[in-house]
């Protein structure tokens, strides 16, 4: 799935050399796979597209279930396959990688997906972990001095990347990594709309977050494809086979839906794509979520053209033209809604291995094969080629209907499943993390695929509608990191859990910013949102390329001084060096914090006391005469929680460690606790409370990167019982408001910390 960009003929010899080197460096590694989803600028050279693999296994066939060998072998197989997929796309690494399982009785679907990519070899070398730059580690927020200097910095970094002909960073990652004359799949290539020098695909699907350097036109939005397929109840091998047979069709359907919805929104790229397939006894559920955007470097998407298979009677034609009109209207409306107004460009279609006519008549419906009949239709849609949807069966009609019936997002709301929404910058501190769980019972057992699809789509749409309604007080706001999890806990039950954070932003300044910003430059701020320690060197090398990173232990210094001769040892070595450095760094930070701990506590205290949770007004005098003292303990610390890696308007000054907790709760008095909803509501509320308490106990005031990894709910209403297992995790941190920054004791700043740390290591 996915289409990519190319290494054009004009790619210089140095680049080819580099490519070989990197490849060999990564290939020596067994699995050049990264689970990270955001990277320092320049790390991603090219992105090929999504690679994914699924495998259906029977758990009862494991001879030795207590030993991990069999399962390890399964995963190994899958990772090998992922690696080979990436290779087919001309990439040597996989980023944004994730693995998941769905189990029903003895059948298990193992899934893995990621984004094939070419990485910058520079980052594979030792020494790039700059200890002196621990400031970056502590803050993924924009550095005030760096905002708005993207262009200049881009030039610098492309030179230090080591290749003269490197693509500008704002578009380089969308250039195809594979050979344009030997493409792994049919795709339409054009010259990059940004640099005009290299080839780009017409659409790009990825599992990673939008790279900070990417230029985006307008805003993005959450795009979901939902699918439900019935299957016969079966057991063992038969069951596994029927599931295996269904999977490719489901993938294809989901892909088609995503593609159509993307076109309908006039966008050309998906980020954060996550396809979840859940297996139940008599059905399979597929849910694909991603954030659609319009990448300025990619060509504008064509429209969607409806074609009837048998244009016989007049009323049918009428019907078709009505649908066509509705689609066109929706596209126009969406362009307004997401503020997508790309400058008109002359389209140059190049290097497509499929003849034009044939390509554009490629039907995006799995059911249609009749390209001959269609060859006479006018397939151009305005200036652009259109996707043709043929409504030749009832499925298609319903699909198109559902395409159009996706409820429009209410005014004032945006949504995405990535960290932040491109095009929105001025977040306020208004923040609301939530978890919503719904379980639906399918009352009618004899449902058709269409019926199920409709139910599942409505379920997701209603859930989103409910979220918008409940969070209406936060308008204007964006639901970020919308994470849907579907499961089929029992026959006829569908469970959907959503965790996300609603963040409000300042509309006034947003509009001003929209006006002031030139096309695409709006990403500057976000770019710096993930200035991880990896890129620490980039800032230093920008200024004084020879400067030794402060605080790097001697052993690491030796290695790093070997640059710039490109030397690629085994990747494992590099990794161990990284790990070693990280360990050292963690150590130095700990060392450093010993001296500053008192200050830190003071700081944490001052933060908490200003936000303590008591309605008792300050300074209200207790009755002097009252003999019984009130049971007023220490004030409760306010702990913020977010699934994102940062809190807007704040700076994280200290990471206190990971929080990873499992909870199991059981009740034998379900009715008395307000039924299943009452039980789960109080359980989730308690989980939140316990997580907050743990963070507070560590001296923190926020939990970032929160995720609810597991929420398994089972009930037996007849016995008045229910059980639930929840697994949550995140990073406990101390943050301070940006506006309070002057007030930080200087000892807390990173330079000082690492300085003392370096002393400690010698």
């Amino acid at each position: 799935m996915g289409s990519g960009g190319s290494v054009g003929k004009e790619a210089g010899p140095l680049k080819t050399l580099l490519r070989q080197h990197t490849q060999s460096a990564l290939e020596q590694r067994e699995f050049p796979i990264f689970t990270l989803t955001c990277f320092p600028p320049g790390f991603l050279v090219h992105v090929g597209g999504v690679v994914s693999t699924r495998s259906v296994k029977l758990l009862d066939r494991i001879h030795n279930p207590d030993e991990p060998e069999t399962r390890d072998a399964w995963w190994e197989e899958i990772r090998q396959e992922i690696k080979s997929h990436a290779k087919a796309l001309g990439c040597h690494a996989v980023v944004g990688y994730s693995e998941s399982t769905s189990i029903c009785e003895e059948v298990c679907i193992l899934s893995a997906s990621g984004t094939a990519a070419m990485l910058n070899p520079r980052f594979m070398r030792e020494g790039c972990l700059d200890i002196g730059g621990s400031d970056h580690r502590l803050s993924r927020q924009p550095h005030p001095g760096m905002v708005g200097s993207e262009r200049g910095e881009g030039e610098v970094s492309s030179t230090w990347l080591g290749f003269e002909d490197a693509s500008p960073p704002s578009c380089g990652f969308v250039h195809i990594p594979y050979d344009e004359f030997n493409m792994p799949f049919p795709a339409q290539l054009t010259y990059c709309y940004h640099c005009r020098r290299q080839k780009v695909p017409d659409v790009l699907f990825t599992t990673i977050d939008l790279p900070a350097e990417a230029e985006v036109t307008g805003k993005g939005c959450l795009i979901q494809a939902r699918l439900c397929r019935t299957k016969k109840k079966a057991q063992g091998e038969v069951n596994a086979t029927s599931i295996s047979n269904l999977l490719p069709f489901m993938e294809y359907e989901l892909h088609t839906q995503l593609m159509n919805k993307l076109k309908l929104r006039s966008m050309n790229a998906l980020f954060g794509l996550r396809i979840q397939i859940s297996v139940g006894e008599n059905m399979l559920l597929g849910l694909a979520s991603a954030t659609g955007v319009y990448l300025s470097a990619l060509p504008a998407p064509g429209g969607i053209q409806i074609a009837g298979k048998t244009p016989s009677d007049l009323s049918y034609d009428q019907h078709i033209s009505t649908i066509q009109k509705r689609i066109d209207d929706t596209i126009a409306k969406n362009k307004e809604l997401y503020n997508i107004h790309p400058p008109e460009c002359i389209e140059e279609v190049v290097g497509s291995p499929i003849p034009d006519r044939q390509r554009s008549s490629r039907l995006f419906r799995s059911t249609s094969e009749s390209s001959d009949e269609l060859s006479e239709l006018d397939l151009s849609h305005g200036k652009k080629d259109a996707f043709v949807l043929e409504i030749d069966d009832t499925d298609a009609v319903e699909d198109i209907q559902s395409l159009l019936t996706d409820a429009p997002i209410p005014a004032g709301f945006y949504s995405c499943n990535t960290e932040v929404m491109p095009g929105i910058h001025n977040w306020t501190s208004g923040l609301q993390m939530f978890t919503s769980v719904r379980v639906y019972r399918l009352s009618n057992a004899n449902l058709t695929n269409q019926g199920l699809n409709k139910i599942f789509t409505d379920l997701c749409e209603n859930l989103l509608k409910s979220l918008y309604f409940k969070l209406r007080s936060m308008i204007p706001c964006c639901l970020c990191h919308l994470n849907f999890t579907v499961a089929v806990p029992e026959e006829e039950l569908i469970q959907v859990a959503v965790t996300a954070v609603a963040m409000s932003f300042d509309k006034e300044t947003q509009q001003a910013a929209d006006r002031a910003l030139t096309r695409g430059s709006g990403e500057n701020e976000e770019q710096l949102q993930f200035s991880m320690e990896l890129c620490g060197e980039s800032t230093i090398s920008n200024n004084q390329p020879t400067a030794k990173p402060s605080g790097v232990p001697e052993s690491a210094m030796v290695h790093s001084s070997r640059a710039p001769s490109v030397d690629y040892g085994s990747f494992a070595d590099r990794c161990s060096t990284w790990l070693e450095l990280l360990r050292l760094k963690a150590h130095t930070i700990r060392r450093g914090s010993v001296k500053t701990s008192r200050r830190t506590q003071l700081l944490a205290h001052s933060v908490s006391s200003s936000e303590r949770c008591s309605p008792l007004p300050e300074g209200r005098s207790r009755s002097l005469r009252s003999t019984r003292s009130l049971p007023c303990g220490a004030p409760v610390t306010v702990v913020k929680m977010t699934p994102l890696s940062f809190l807007p308007g704040t700076r994280i000054v200290k990471y206190l460690g990971i929080i990873n907790m499992f909870f199991i709760r059981e009740t034998t008095s379900l009715r008395e606790e307000g039924g299943v909803s009452g039980f789960l509501h109080s359980f989730i509320a308690e989980v939140f409370a316990m997580v907050r308490a743990h963070v507070a106990a560590l001296g923190g005031n926020a939990l970032v990167s929160y995720s609810m990894k597991e929420c398994v709910f089972m009930e037996n209403p007849n016995k008045n019982q229910a059980q639930c297992l929840i697994n949550v995790s995140g990073d406990a941190v101390i943050f301070i408001r940006e506006s309070d920054q002057e007030a930080i004791p200087p000892l807390l700043t990173s330079r000082q910390t690492s300085g003392t740390g370096a002393d400690g290591t010698t």
Partner: protein, 357 residues
């Protein structure tokens, strides 16, 4: 297809004030949804009944979970289960302890016992306040009563501290506790015209002037019980009506001062002895607990009603009471000036409050 389970949990608890009020008012979920639908909730997207129902259920559940914390607001501030911003907590408490004046008028002065609680369905039918809401309000009264019963120190201050209520609400609760403790009769037909705020004002006057706490603020029950000694001393005031000379002297002093200043002068002159007897007799009877209960009805019957029938204005009343009180100081043989002032100060402000034109 049916929704089997539907929950929405936030890190910082969201409470919709409108839904909270509906919950407090004892609406069922379905009724609340109806009200919200009619009210036109949000124009952002058509809020279907389904969405509203789900939202209302979520909020009701949250309120129910919060309710036990609201019973002891100190706990609400220190609990960890719900992260609620302080101003929201204050709102939750204030609204939870707010009451309907029609309802409180029905139970004011009644014993806060199980018996009274059983009769709440009648009260509910009579006032139109839902039974659920009646129960909540009644339980609030009872809870506050129980907590402050054993505390030393000023009543209002105790209520404010233990329940985090605003000054106004704390004063109202003090009045309710005071009335319940002394079992003042407020339900008689003749008293129906008085609002809760009238009574609350009078309670405030009584608490700050006639209770034990008015002199010594370290005693238990200081603000709920009337000072025994003072009530005994009030008997001494009888001399004003039993001694004929004193009564005449008092009358002539008052009449001289009032002459020409009011249209109702003739009626005042004619009724002086009756009215004076009325007020002094009320004072003399207050040693008897049973009579204390009739304090307000006596005031109305013995003093306010005669004045009404003589068509006194509020101004007349003020003028009369001022001179009636002050003239007693000039009486040579009247030795109980302090007690008189303490008594008349309260009586005067109570009557002025209770005398509706």
């Amino acid at each position: 297809m049916s929704v089997e389970l539907d929950v929405f949990v936030v890190n910082t608890t969201i409470m919709d004030e409108e839904v909270y009020q509906l919950w407090l008012d004892g609406y069922t979920v379905n009724d609340a949804v109806k009200v919200r639908m009619e009210g036109g909730v949000w124009e952002g997207c058509e809020a279907s009944a389904e969405v509203l129902h789900s939202d209302t259920m979520d909020q009701y559940r949250t309120f129910q979970m919060c309710e036990r914390l609201l019973h002891s607001p100190v706990k609400l501030a220190n609990q960890l289960l719900f992260q609620i911003p302080p101003h929201r907590q204050a709102m939750l408490i204030e609204r939870y302890y707010a009451f309907d004046s029609v309802f409180v008028r029905e139970v004011l002065g009644k014993k806060l016992s199980k018996g009274t609680k059983k009769d709440l369905d009648d009260v509910s039918a009579k006032t139109g306040v839902t039974l659920k809401s009646c129960r909540r309000q009644f339980d609030n009264f009872k809870r506050v009563f129980k907590v402050v019963e054993e505390l030393k120190g000023p009543l209002v201050e105790n209520i404010r501290q233990h329940f985090f209520l605003s000054d106004k609400l704390a004063r109202d609760y003090a009045a309710i506790v005071f009335f319940a403790n002394n079992r003042f009769e407020t339900g008689k037909k003749k008293l129906h015209y008085l609002t809760f705020q009238d009574f609350a004002f009078c309670a405030g006057q009584l608490i700050s002037n006639w209770t034990v706490g008015a002199l010594d603020n370290m005693v238990e029950d200081m603000d709920v019980d009337l000072e025994k000694e003072f009530l005994q001393d009030l008997k001494e005031l009888k001399i004003l009506i039993t001694d004929r000379d004193l009564l005449d002297q008092h009358k002539s002093l008052v009449c001289t001062a009032l002459r020409g200043k009011t249209k109702a002068f003739n009626e005042m002159e004619a009724n002086f002895k009756n009215l004076s007897r009325g007020l002094v007799n009320i004072a003399a009877k207050l040693t008897n607990t049973k009579e204390v209960r009739d304090f307000f009805i006596d005031l109305v019957e013995k003093f306010i009603e005669p004045c009404w029938s003589d068509k006194w204005t509020a101004g007349d009343m003020r003028l009369y009471l001022t001179h009636y009180t002050n003239s007693a100081h000039v009486l040579d043989t009247f030795k109980h000036q302090v007690v008189w002032d303490r008594y008349m100060g309260v009586i005067k402000s109570c009557i002025l409050k209770m005398y509706h034109d």
